[in-house]
């Protein structure tokens, strides 16, 4: 069976407020990926555009981008699964290439969250939950993840300091990432000093420092058939395993509160498809929209047993030099989280790692990389495994 490769990756800088339109923002990621792959628009057979549309003023952006990117008359698709939209876009691109329908597909993720106010944005995000039965109580993303954090703490003795250690690690690498929105150092003292902004309450037990920031940004991943990959690219990165799963939107319909079942199921599928297990992963990007989300990812992906995630961060096993480096690009906590662009940015980091082009954050000769990208509060789970 012919394989499917990633032959180009790109992303814009992630910023608080992008001084331009959505098509211009999306073009930045696209341009970088096209230059990376050495392609011109006529080489692209189709595009897949990924975002959460409730932030946009532009209706149906996929068609608008196709013209702006020079991709007429090729078809374009629009994919939405909240914060995992561009991983879902990768899944669609893989199937388009694998089916033989298209040889080269550009997966474009973007979000311009600054088009609306922060309170409006929180309300939009709350509506990513069950608007009939949950949102009328005044829900927000941090509060949902905070409920998982409290349940994890109650079950396993995970502490606020364990969560703070994850933020400290993120900031260690965020300082090295010139595409990240947050590049300042963060110490344990910042999160334990009540006078410090980082320790300010958001939704107990989560503090400001436990949460990633909204951002504007774009990403692009170019997916190609094995034949095209060998023509265009001297360092293709192969898609080895893809997993995708869902769970109940309302917390009342769920059974587990110490991990995300959609992530566990997506991981199971991706490992099975790749014929690999967690011990064979050399570098990973996980969806750390909140510190607790990274802690649960360690366990949901099998890097640690349930409840064992805290030992990984305490022992620095997830640092660059550790046994399983995680989010050595600073993660969402440092980069910021432009919903539709996030998955593509995670994939970009892993592709650069596997090509050994990751600069100051390069881990030592990785063969296999993994991306864990979550939509909503675990409503959608996507896990993708890549090899060189």
């Amino acid at each position: 069976m012919p394989r499917v490769a990633i032959i180009g990756v790109g992303q814009s800088e992630f910023v608080r407020a992008y001084p331009g339109s959505v098509r211009e923002l999306a073009f930045e990621g696209f341009k970088e990926a096209m230059r990376d792959a050495g392609l011109t628009p006529k080489d692209i057979g189709a595009s897949v555009v990924c975002s959460a549309p409730e932030y946009d003023k532009q209706r149906s952006p996929a068609g608008v981008f196709a013209e702006y990117f020079g991709l007429n008359p090729q078809p374009t698709f629009y994919v939405e699964s909240l914060c995992s939209s561009s991983s879902m876009g990768l899944r669609l691109a893989y199937s388009l290439v694998k089916s033989g329908l298209h040889d080269v597909v550009a997966v474009v993720g973007f979000q311009k969250m600054s088009e609306i106010t922060s309170a409006e944005s929180q309300e939009r995000m709350g509506r990513g939950a069950d608007i009939q039965w949950e949102s009328p109580f005044g829900t927000m993303m941090p509060a949902y993840y905070a409920m998982y954090a409290r349940a994890h703490m109650a079950a396993y003795g995970t502490s606020l300091e364990d969560l703070a250690l994850i933020r400290v690690k993120a900031a260690t690498y965020g300082q090295l990432n010139d595409k990240a929105v947050y590049r300042k150092p963060v110490t344990l003292a910042n999160l334990s000093n009540p006078e410090d902004r980082m320790a300010g309450p958001v939704a107990s037990p989560l503090r400001v420092g436990d949460c990633c920031a909204n951002a504007d940004g774009s990403s692009c991943v170019i997916v190609a058939s094995e034949e095209k990959a060998k023509t265009f690219c001297h360092k293709p990165v192969w898609i080895l395993g893809l997993g995708a799963a869902t769970t109940s939107v309302n917390l009342a319909g769920r059974e587990v509160f110490t991990g995300l079942t959609a992530a566990r199921e997506a991981a199971r599928q991706a490992y099975a498809m790749a014929g690999l297990g967690p011990k064979e992963i050399d570098v990973a990007e996980v969806h750390d929209c909140f510190t607790i989300a990274e802690m649960m990812a360690y366990e949901d992906l099998g890097f640690a047993q349930p409840g064992g995630g805290k030992e990984l961060i305490r022992s620095r096993a997830t640092y660059k030099e550790g046994e399983i480096p995680v989010n050595v690009d600073g993660g969402l906590l440092s980069k910021g989280h432009p919903i539709g662009a996030t998955g593509g940015s995670q994939i970009r980091t892993i592709v650069l790692q596997l090509r050994e082009e990751a600069g100051p954050i390069q881990v030592k000769q990785p063969e296999i990389g993994l991306v864990h990208n979550i939509g909503g509060v675990g409503l959608y789970g996507n896990v993708s495994i890549f090899g060189r």
Binding site: E120, D130, G138, T139, M147, R150, A151, A203, S204
Partner: protein
């Protein structure tokens, strides 16, 4: 001129801010008005649902009966919000929470008069109807 058909928008009354007004489970609001929190049970297969729903995904039947939520549930988790989304700023601080009743779970808020120091994961709480200052209705979890 033909009389305009009135739509059943009772669900507008649910929560500080309601995001939807039309649902086949609108009787839930009448039950709240009468001091009862209710779920639905499928007459075909007997499965209990909370939040209530009009359709059974287990046997695909559409014939539901209402049941009243009674007794106590176990507190699965909660979070106290210091900031609220648009429309909820006047409510903060408040705690959202999940109660486990065994055959179903309920997502809602903890009663405002229950101090956070008295709240612990695993504790039993009961679900009661609550009228909000703006006249809207919801339900809250409180000491049994």
């Amino acid at each position: 001129m033909a009389e305009k058909k009135e739509s059943d928008e009772r669900f507008k009354k649910f929560g500080t801010v309601s995001f939807t007004s039309l649902t086949k489970t609108n009787d839930f609001i009448d039950h709240l008005e009468n001091g009862k929190v209710t779920g639905t049970r499928c007459k075909g297969c007997g499965r209990a649902f909370f939040p209530p729903r009009a359709d059974c995904c287990q046997c695909l039947a559409g014939d539901m009966e209402w049941f009243e939520v009674s007794g106590t549930g176990r507190l699965v988790s909660y979070s106290k919000l210091e900031y609220g989304p648009a429309g909820f700023q006047n409510d903060v601080p408040y705690c959202i929470a999940l109660l486990d009743y065994g055959t179903f779970k309920i997502f809602g808020r903890i009663a405002a008069d229950l101090p956070e120091t008295a709240i612990a994961v695993g504790m039993p709480l009961k679900t009661v109807v609550n009228r909000l200052p703006n006249g809207q209705l919801n339900y809250v979890f409180t000491s049994p």
